[in-house]
């Protein structure tokens, strides 16, 4: 479908600095970038949307789909600007979120500080009540105590309440009753209960997630309601859908109930886009690599589906270290984030080794090359010194880079102290950052039982195309894909996401006492509930059921797909075989005699993802005459060479370019190393293939 008859899709991604809007009709796509308006984010969004619609010559009424992703929830947590939230917990467990996991995120650092909890101790209340691990009440809920606590919380200024009782995932009765009582006392007070927000075992993660939900709920519900009204006022009839961290779209109702699901939804869009491109290009194993100014994010994608996880941390305070953030247990596209971006600062450590990041020069003062007063060398400075960035062609010519300032910063901090030539100092910086990113990908892959050799790399974000080929070399990958419009990748990805919802619940079951009827009943109940929350999904619905299984007593669960049908006793054997196969894939051997248990269950219901159309085959075109050349210092040969520079806009589908080459565009530059050749495919993506014989 092309032209004005095709449905008009709109996507908006509110980031910390910019709000990106993409409007798409058939093959037509326009984008707008406006500054985020923090006091009323919908203002910038509507500005951007108006710009994009004007560019398409379309009106709000023509919009068929509006997808929205936002960092508002994330930022509210990081900046501690959410609602004054009170916690009501089981008596004796006031401090679950303060005790946390009792560990230190940095082993040797005597001066670490804990990330302050979202709810201070004075707002953490408890009531007598207790479920046991099987969901049997050991102590009935003390309703009078609850009423008193509710009044105390209100008196202390609570604007939202999180209720998280022990083992509530096994029996939500007390939490539900607590909510009823709270509704009697304060009908307008938003209440989040752990058995709905995060019905999973492990009290710290569950409580932390429930609190985060309550904490952002008033803000998000207010914002979403205002936005929906503003859109309706402008004649937009399309339903508003919200991007979730799990990569699915949620209705406004689901988003208002579970706003914690919106945390980290921006990066999810990028992974969805990468998954879509992977599927369209017939790549079953892909590593998506998103490198911006401050961080790099890496995600594994299999068969077009980004890997998912059930937990992540928001607001890692200490240099992105594991354990320094607040745990959030929700379905999430699993990404590792490391402090390595274009603005990451290079330094020399005690062992006279070069380190890069996690400190970043940000955009102010930015890299030394920006000439805004930055004196510390960054990855971008190193890229400039190595010739990979054309100083007069950076960021759509909005900023002319100062190569001398970059060289001086590198000399002062790195090259001179180590007795290196400037370019070797710069190469040290890019090599260390590329090595850091590759290592992070490697360790991540082993955690997921994947071997990276057969993957392709899909690179987007301002700095990724400069580094992707080298990272691929280090990981032994044969192909790199750099999609068109990589700069607004997240928003484009939103348009590719299905409307869906996923629920997970903990319920212990050993395979040797497998209760097929109980499991079926649980799954059917979850399916009904999930289908409800996936309302708005059109067309045929797909359902996925998953069991999270482990050897009895082990710590980490492995997901095993379940049939979409009533389970029978015989399924215990099927599950055992499936689990053992998955276990072997991850860990090379299984343990023959060990008992297996199911800890949690998950149901996904959603619209079928539209199968992407593979690009039309394009006849190869010879490389056009390069409009210019640059001297670039190569990492492998460690020598300078003249490299042709092409404008990406001038390269038509089918164009083949031998490496080395530099391909420049407004938002980024792609460095094709000598070990790769480049071509443009039918989707206008750059495909870098490793030469059959490395030079």
């Amino acid at each position: 479908m092309t032209g004005a008859s095709a449905p008009l899709g709109l996507a908006a991604d509110i980031g910390g600095t910019f709000t990106d809007v993409v409007a798409e009709r058939g093959h037509q796509r326009v984008s707008a970038k406006v500054l985020t308006t923090h006091d009323a984010p919908e203002r910038a969004l509507l500005d951007g949307v108006t710009q994009a619609l004007d560019a398409l010559g379309a009106s709000f009424a023509e919009v068929a789909q509006f997808v929205h992703g936002t960092t508002l929830a994330t930022n509210a947590i990081i900046e501690r600007k959410g609602a004054v939230t009170a916690l009501i917990a089981t008596e004796g467990f006031r401090d679950v979120i303060a005790i946390a996991d009792e560990s230190r995120h940095a082993q040797y650092d005597l001066n670490i500080e804990r990330n302050p909890p979202l709810v201070p101790r004075r707002l953490r209340f408890t009531v007598p009540e207790r479920m046991d691990v099987t969901g049997q009440p050991l102590l009935e809920l003390d309703e009078d105590a609850l009423r008193q606590v509710a009044r105390d919380a209100l008196a202390a200024g609570a604007q939202a309440i999180a209720v998280a009782f022990l083992h509530a995932y096994a029996n939500p009765a007390h939490e539900r009753r607590a909510r009823e009582i709270l509704a009697d006392i304060a009908p307008d007070l938003p209440v989040s209960i752990s058995s709905e927000v995060c019905p999973e075992i492990r009290e710290y993660e569950r409580t932390s997630t429930t609190i985060a939900n309550a904490y952002v709920q008033p803000l998000m519900a207010g914002y979403l309601t205002r936005l929906a009204r503003a859109l309706a006022d402008r004649g937009c009839q399309a339903p508003l859908r919200l991007m979730t961290s799990g990569g699915a779209l949620a209705s406004i109702d689901a988003a208002c109930r579970f706003p914690v699901r919106l945390v980290e939804s921006g990066p999810a869009g990028g992974a969805i886009l990468a998954g879509h491109i992977a599927a369209a290009s017939g790549e079953d194993r892909v590593l998506s690599f998103d490198m911006g100014g401050t961080t790099a994010k890496i995600c594994l994608i299999e068969d077009g589906r980004p890997q998912t996880a059930r937990t992540f941390e928001v607001d890692r305070t200490a240099r992105f270290l594991k354990g320094s953030g607040l745990p959030i247990r929700i379905p999430v596209i699993e990404m590792i984030e490391i402090g390595a971006g274009g603005g990451s600062i290079a330094a020399i450590d005690a062992t006279q080794s070069i380190t890069v990041g996690p400190e970043s020069a940000g955009s102010e003062p930015g890299p030394a090359a920006y000439g805004r007063g930055g004196t510390q060398p960054t990855v971008t400075d190193a890229d400039v010194v190595l010739g990979r960035i054309a100083p007069d062609r950076f960021a759509g010519r909005t900023l002319s880079l100062n190569a001398d300032a970059a060289a001086k910063a590198l000399n002062d901090t790195i090259a001179t102290p180590l007795g290196l030539e400037t370019e070797m100092g710069a190469l040290g910086v890019t090599e260390m950052v590329d090595e850091t990113m590759s290592n992070a990908a490697r360790v991540h892959a082993v955690e997921r039982g994947a071997t990276l050799k057969t993957h392709s790399l899909i690179a987007f974000g301002g700095a990724a195309p400069l580094h992707a080929a080298r990272v691929a070399e280090k990981l032994g990958l044969a192909r790199v894909i750099i999609p068109a419009d990589a700069g607004v990748g997240s928003a484009v990805g939103f348009l590719r996401a299905p409307v869906a919802f996923e629920s997970t619940r903990s319920r212990f079951m050993r395979l040797d006492t497998f209760d097929a009827a109980a499991a079926t009943a649980l799954l059917d109940e979850m399916t009904a509930e999930t289908t409800d929350l996936a309302s708005g999904a059109t067309g045929p619905l797909v359902q996925r059921r998953t069991a999270f299984m482990r050897y009895a007593g082990q710590g980490h669960e492995i997901s095993v797909d379940l049939p979409i049908a009533p389970l029978t006793g015989a399924d215990a054997d099927t599950l055992r075989t499936a689990f053992e196969t998955a276990y072997r894939r991850l860990f090379e051997r299984h343990i023959p005699s060990a008992a297996i248990e199911i800890l949690s269950w998950s149901v996904f219901v959603g619209a079928e993802t539209e199968a992407p159309t593979p690009p039309d085959p394009v006849p190869p075109l010879p490389a056009p005459e390069a409009p210019g050349h640059r001297r670039i210092f190569d990492a492998t040969t460690r020598s300078w060479g003249e490299v042709p520079v092409h404008e990406r806009d001038a390269l038509h589908p089918g164009t083949c370019l031998p490496g080395p080459a530099l391909i420049v565009e407004n938002a980024t530059s792609t460095y094709v190393t000598a070990r790769f050749d480049a071509r443009v495919d039918g989707l206008n993506a750059l495909i870098l293939d490793r030469k059959t014989e490395a030079p």
Binding site: G92, D95, E102, R202, L420, V443, Y551
Partner: protein, 547 residues
Amino acid sequence: MTDTLSPLDLQIMWQRLIAVVEEQAQVLLRTAFSPIVRECGDLSAGVFDTQGRMLAQAVTGTPGHVNSMAESVKHFLDHFPCDTMQPGDIYITNDPWMGTGHLNDFVLTTPAFHDGNLVGLFSCTSHLMDIGGIGFGPDATDVFMEGLSIPFLKLAEGGVLNDTLMAMIRANTRLPIDTEGDVYSLAACNDVGCKRLSEMMSEFGLADLDTLAAHILTRSEAAVMAEIARLPKGTWRNQMVVDGYDAPVTLALSLTIDDTGVTVDFDGTSPQVGRGINVPLSYTTAYTVFGLGCAIAPDVPNNAGSLKPFRVTGPEGSIVNAIKPAPVASRHVVGQMLPDVVFGALRQAAPDRTPAEGTSCLWNLNVRGVAARDGGNYGFTMAVTSNGGTGARPTLDGLSATAYPSGVKGTPVEIAEAVTPLVFWKKELRPDSGGAGRHRGGLGQVIEVESRIGEPFELLAAYDRIDHPARGHDGGQDGAAGAVGLASGRVFQGKGFQTVPPGERLVVLTPGGGGIGAPETRDPDALAADLEEQLISDAGARAYDPR
């Protein structure tokens, strides 16, 4: 190409090697059966050169394991010389003196080959929940009572598993399936390390690790020596008295800083005792060096080079250099106290680097008992990891309910209740337990536990700081002492097996950390915040009153 490696190449390879051992540790973490490993991270993993020198260690792991495992690989080489090693071999021991300090820790070492040549060794260790004997507590009177002893043996030879040994192991533990699973998990993590190392050597065209090893060790040692050079030279002494098993134990040391490094000598420390709180020197060294590392060179990666400037000695037969067959199962209770003793001496040379004394030893609830009517006396065994407060830092309060020096994580109550028939009625911060000071000590916890099935259960207590709380410093007050007993009033001993009868609640108060600086100099806002947060009570606030 080995000869032509530039410092940049070597630096990149060093990074890669650290990533390889991190992969190794992640495999262990994910596949271990022992709950204390998988939920709490009680493990370590590292790569060694063919001389047994540790080149890199995973960040994931616990200090006691890492630094003692570092020495243990040399003993493996004594038993299995390099020229006898072949691909597919796996060596194993749980020798407390040549391993990591008690029988519960299995150490596995696997030779790594590349292009048919031995190029290095991967070693890993983790804590197994049950190794037979009297069980994991300090009550044994010699090491033979503490369980199955595995001398240096081949777990696999040329890829063939030693079934006899596996059968012996299974037959000598109350948890045969878990124990077998843990052994496999240890083996698998070394396999992954060997594979990745070989891939790395192919990529970089390395035939051996000699040049890389020299680079890592030289650079690391030089970095630590540079930090030591900033410290004044001389000898300082400190001593700290702890509870011991049935009589107080004095931990005394002299710390000497000179041009060759830092030497810690535990001369003056009490003799070894008749119960299992004795510490083999390897474990003493591990925690002593960890304390030194934290205070002197926290940013230098851990390896044989960075450890080299730190030397530790102790009189033979003292509690920190116990001689076989001394019982050692709960060696961590004393071992984890050693950084505090080190800090007290180091503070005299370099003020403002070290915290006040903290809880320091883990306050685990090591429990076992009947799980079901037909399940035997010890149907469940569980270490519920929990901690007290750490000491105040020179510019910060101590951390509440946080492990230091150990790096393990606390056990979730819901997980503990899923694998034991216990119910936790309380696990909360313990107000007023942090030592008052300009910077306050971290708070301990109050924990209350009862059987859910009306059966007795046993506590294998291994606690300290009940009679000798964490001392404050520079005018800061002591942290609150720990306590253990029944809600009905009976006071338990800090160490040893004790039974909690059906219907009774076990109450554990974990200690607080010591404060730093006079309490009346505390920032009034910080004091007000503590009061508002009820971390200190009105009564507790009196400690801050200058009158």
